[in-house]
Symmetry: C2
Subunit: 325 residues, 2 copies
DNA sequence: GAAAATCTTGAATGCGCTTTCACGGCTCGA
DNA sequence: TCGAGCCGTGAAAGCGCATTCAAGATTTTC
């Protein structure tokens, strides 16, 4: 494995110059720079990231912490992060907390000293712990907002409003909301947006695990609540609701309309195709990575809130007569 | 940030002893070991992985290269790798090649010098390049087999056989195979297994991109081929086939039976639920990580082939009268 | 035309850690 | 009892690189 030393010798310059030629090209004369670049190319030189990190004190790696990699939501964000990071020649260390706060804490503690910045995706930790972490190094929070910290989130409220307006336009008057984990920031946002809308009766049927099974469990509550439409915490839950509704002999959207959140790929596959509030997941990954790069301890931490879009498909339709509660 | 040096001072021992107490506990007297551990705990000491890597020449990090993180297949494997790696106190660097060979090459070159081992998941690279990589450092190939290299793959042939036997038992005689990327090793394995089965007419309708849209595109070919059943490269493709079949007014399994591969979560959600050959994805991630840890340049590289299981759901049923071709 | 400012360069230092190496204190066999 | 072997320990070297510092080369300024 060729080292910078080798490149320097091959190019007939000092290691210092070789280092500069690669990292601060402007500070080296054109001729030497070319000699170094050529030698590096010829020798197949690959910088040793560990050595770079150790010497400079900056790690180059990006740490990405997600609750569940197998969840398409986070997988898509991860993909966005990954592609943006590659463009900046940085690698991504991903860690999956399995939706567990304790594990999350541990992972953050483990990861943080060894990365140049941390991307906390839908963190379950309390705010003050997140702020502690941010005090120790660059941190960008994704899909959550923490006062004083850089974050990338979604304009959930407008998504909720669009969804409810859509349902109202279809004649629905009683809508059930199937929530996510009670500790989830984005569930709280959805709930907050719900109360702000008039003309529609919202029945909160409680929180569920943010996966298919959660939706299955919630469907019966929805039926019992006598709602003709459901807004679900996310697409996975919405899909679960639909599956159970189907199993109980109810038709979607004939008897009940269903709206999800996220617009994961599966939302378009299923039949009926799911009406959902689409979140720009990949873009969130991009933005977060970009933010992390440009983070400046002095400046006010930037907060970007990405626009969302209601994608109307086949799971919503005109209201049926209300089911009896 | 506390360093080993600090811990050593606090424990009243030399840095060498502190280092040994943490990495080779057996080589330190019980009393000093406890002093060091206590001091480390008290100071919140976190080893600097970069320094460890630089000093020892071993990186500790595991590099995971996948074609597409957003594909539930790879996301699940990644989750498996991740959880196993955490158990061994190693971090995972993931890179997404976007199904592109050139990017894959580049990523491998980039990553390899900076990780302790590489997990190549469904690599698209030619065998000799993979072997080159393996010559430069520990490599385990996942979902592909390369002669002379450690690998974790699936017993695809028996899955194909089970699927075909299932279809035969249902009275099908003409089965279409919708393939994946032609460069894909696992597609070749599926094809190889197909030809070995008698009593069933297999129509190869060509390869598709291994995603939902690929299946949509293939469905019309299936209909034209006059098959009453379809075996698809993977679940995503199978779902695409089903969607298009549905759109064309054909019923599943009434008119056409559909079988997928992988058993991604969505396979169980959709309606009709997809009959599929389930691959132990998470386990593959575990096994691969374990293999990587125990890789010994001297010994014969281990090859593990994981068993698969046909999961019969609702997308397969008795054969209808053959469609006319 | 001399002094000051600027730019390029190489020598040298050290990031935090692992790992020889050598040394003193042991135990053991003879 | 004495030397051979072993174990626990610390001093020290160095992994590959970025970066500071000082020096030389060049340009600029009055």
């Amino acid at each position: 494995m060729a080292t910078l030393q080798d490149v320097a010798v091959a190019a007939g310059v000092s290691p210092a110059t070789a280092s500069r030629a690669l990292s601060t090209p402007a500070s080296v004369s054109m001729e030497r720079r070319h000699r170094v670049l050529e030698a590096a190319e010829r020798l197949g030189y690959r910088p040793n990231r560990s050595a770079q990190a150790l010497a400079s004190g900056r790690s180059g790696h990006i740490g990405l912490v997600v609750p569940d990699l197998a969840n398409p939501f986070f997988a898509t964000v991860a993909k966005g992060v990954q592609s943006q990071a590659r463009g900046a020649h940085r690698s991504v260390l991903v860690a999956d907390t399995d939706e567990d706060v304790r594990a999350e804490r541990e992972i953050v503690d483990d990861l943080q000293p060894n990365v140049g910045g941390l991307l906390l995706c839908s963190p379950r930790m309390p705010e003050d712990e997140i702020r502690d972490a941010a005090a120790r190094g660059p941190v960008v929070v994704v899909n959550r907002e923490v006062a004083g910290l850089a974050s990338v989130s979604f304009d959930v409220a407008s998504g909720v409003h669009a969804a409810l307006a859509h349902l109202r336009a279809l004649g629905h008057t009683r809508v059930a909301y199937v929530g996510g984990p009670s500790t989830s920031w984005s569930d709280a946002r959805r709930r907050a947006a719900l109360t702000e809308v008039a003309g529609l009766e919202i029945v909160d049927v409680g929180g569920q695990r943010p996966i298919h099974q959660g939706g299955v469990a919630a469907a019966d509550l929805v039926i019992a609540a006598g709602a003709t439409a459901v807004l679900a915490y996310n697409d996975l839950v919405a899909l679960g609701v639909m599956a159970r509704l189907h199993a109980r002999g109810l038709s979607v959207p004939g008897d009940v309309s269903v709206i999800g959140f996220d617009d994961i790929p599966a939302a378009a596959y299923v039949s009926p195709a799911l009406t959902t509030v689409a979140l720009p997941l990949t873009r969130a990954g991009h933005e977060a990575t970009t933010l992390l790069d440009g983070l400046d301890a002095a400046a006010e931490p930037p907060t970007v809130r990405l626009p969302v879009e209601l994608v109307v498909r086949d799971s919503t339709g005109p209201a049926a007569l209300p089911l009896k509660g």
